[in-house]
Amino acid sequence: MSSGAVQAAAGRPARGRRSLIGPRSVLRLPSARVAIAVLIGIGILTVFGATLAPQNPLTINANALFQGPSSHHLLGTDYLGRDVLSRLMAGTRLSVLTALEAVGIGLVLGTVPGVATVFLGRWFDFTANRVTDALMTLPSIFFAVAVTAALGNGLVQAMVPIGILLAPFFFRVTRAATLEHARAQYVEAAELLGASKLHVVRVHVLRKVLPTIAVTTASMTAAALLSVSFLTFLGIGVQPPAPTWGGVLSSDLDYLAQAPWAPFIPGALIAVTVGALNALADAFRDRSGAGTLLLTAPAAVTPETLERVDDDRRSQPAA
């Protein structure tokens, strides 16, 4: 530890040590490997889904309503005889990209002030925390629907508020992790050696905080994906013939009497994707001890609960 501190303070971080929390050790976990395989599949569907789809997702076939899985329709057909597999494949892009849009917004709005708050003094910290607390009282789905009322019905508009409401989670986690590292002895040593704040953030803090941010990003992507599927399920933001995961599910719900098995297919797709993201976050967390705060961060507000979170954090194994 002490030799590492000296090296770090001298501006030469011990490179070998970084692999401790690197992606390679995460890959050793079987759950992480499965999760990454699933996510690569989803990534391929996002880019090529519409072209890979075996049939046109919009073609209506009145002779093949509510068909079960067969060689011609691998996942069956819906109430208009459209191929469910093709609809899900073609719907992947919109669902995934809008989820990433929300996560991107949350990532920027959350982590930047999260790192900054430690270095900008108490006033900024207090204000940022109160705003965070206030944002956390707004339920994201309600807020998203309300924003579509104000700004117009579109998935891109609807995901902006979701992103804004993800920001508090990024902020909390980043702030806590930054705080922890910014008060470490080696940072003190670096400051004594005359390192600027920017240098400390860039070299010492940001690198240590990154695993935490990665964990949070994975679980927030899962949350955003759920929100997208839910919003499209409610019919927010998409015009009916366009396929989305939630949209497929919602039309299946209307025809449960004819095809009670149908909702399980889009349901399973959503659950598997979300599960893969969560498993990846868990694997990262297990390997690095990062992002543990996420589990215990209180939505409110009293100093006692914050203290307790700090205690919980301290009681977590370091690596």
């Binding site: 109160r130 705003v131 607390d133 206030a134 944002l135 956390m136 009282t137 707004l138 339920p139 994201s140 789905i141 309600f142 807020f143 629907v145 309300a146 924003v147 579509t148 009322a149 104000a150 700004l151 019905n153 899962a222 759920l226 929100s227 599927s229 839910f230 399920f233 409610l234 019919g235 927010i236 599910l249 299946d252 719900l253 449960l256 009497a257 009670p260 098995w261 909702p263 399980f264 349901g267 959503i270 659950a271 598997v272 979300v274 599960g275 969560n278 498993a279 589990l295 215990t296 961060a297 209180p298 939505a299 409110a300 507000v301 009293t302 006692e304 609960t305 307790r308 919980d312 009681s315």
Partner: protein, 340 residues
């Protein structure tokens, strides 16, 4: 803080009730003081959302033919929409404190009235869901922690991971297929008020509540298991066992009490999630609740209804968090007394 000596505290001796009441009251006051700016900020965000909209309510109300610039300006003035945003917000907030959330642009029904009409639906589902989550999650987490490493523990871990990835609307649909379509035990949709028939009311809300509570139960079970395993290894538990206290008493009065905190925090955290789930449950089970009202008014751009709904919902979240915090403070016990 009073210093209780260890044996008495371990035997579960309570400090005088009045003292505990005073501590809780202080915490409540402190919590409220912290919450006030939060309420102000979140309501302002809520309010300015409507003002941000580029929709022109006066023109919408008047209709295309009657919307001459003069008429629009007159209506804007009579609705107060030509005043600065902060002034509008302040008068809206003071009116809201008196229970007046304005009227719908289109139906002219007071917003407070339509919310009050639909609130019982969500309240029933949410309360029953919280109850179910505590019972299911609490039992599973406790048993898993007590028999850690056993098959039940491993089963709980697997089920929890699966359950927390399933969104409430998918769970709802699965429940409908299982209980309403396949075995016909319970109604698939609709709502009956408790004043009409209590058994009917329960039959209609049990499936939506179950759908809502599943993910939260999983979170609670996981969190409770972790903290209970931690607490059960603490010195005071060992001490209590050495003194020969019955295991059941140690578990319930000493361990669970101190381990329940993080799980309760999770419950408070998950509450906004449950509200989203309530919207899902309303959609799946066709319940006439707040979520349906929100969707309808969002489609027609009925801004006062949307603003009122967001206000009510955020207040809900804030109140729930306050309750959770106060409960936490009453729950924690150390050798220094309660609430530390």
């Amino acid at each position: 803080m009073t210093v209780l000596n260890m044996p008495r505290a371990a035997a579960g001796a309570t400090p005088p009730r009045r003292r505990r009441g005073r501590i809780i009251a202080t915490r409540l006051g402190g919590g409220l003081a912290v919450l006030l700016p939060i309420v102000l900020i979140s309501t302002f965000i809520t309010y300015s959302l409507g003002a941000l909209s580029n929709s022109d309510p006066a023109a919408t109300i008047l209709g295309q033919d009657a919307a001459t610039p003069a008429a629009v300006a007159r209506l804007n003035h009579s609705m107060g929409l030509d005043r600065p945003l902060i002034v509008q917000y302040w008068s809206w907030l003071t009116q809201a404190l008196h229970g007046n959330l304005g009227r719908s642009y289109f139906t002219q029904i007071p917003v407070a009235q339509s919310i009050a009409q639909r609130l019982p639906v969500d309240l029933s589902i949410a309360l029953l869901a919280v109850l179910l989550a505590i019972v299911i999650g609490g039992t599973a987490g406790t048993v898993a922690a007590v028999r850690r490493g056993g098959w039940f523990d491993r089963g709980v871990t697997v089920v929890c991971s699966a359950a927390s990835t399933l969104p409430a609307f998918v769970v709802g649909i699965i429940l409908v297929v299982l209980f309403a379509m396949t075995v016909h035990w319970l109604p698939a949709n609709g709502y009956v008020g408790p004043s009409t028939s209590v058994p009917q009311w329960l039959a209609h809300i049990i499936l939506p509540s179950l759908a809502l509570s599943l993910a939260v139960s999983a979170d609670i079970a996981r969190q409770l298991r972790t903290s209970l395993v931690d607490v059960l290894e603490r010195n005071y538990i060992v001490g209590a066992r050495v003194r020969g206290l019955p295991y059941r008493r140690i578990l319930f009065r000493h361990a669970l009490r101190n381990a329940a905190g993080p799980a309760l925090t999770i419950l408070g955290n998950d509450f906004p999630l449950m509200l989203a789930g309530a919207v899902a449950a309303e959609a799946v089970f066709s319940l006439p609740g707040l979520g349906q009202l929100l969707l309808e008014s969002a489609q027609t751009r009925d801004i006062p209804v949307v603003q009122g709904l967001l206000l009510v919902i955020s207040c809900f979240v804030i109140v729930v968090n306050l309750i959770v915090n106060v409960t936490l403070n009453g729950l924690y016990r150390t050798s220094d007394g309660i609430g530390t």
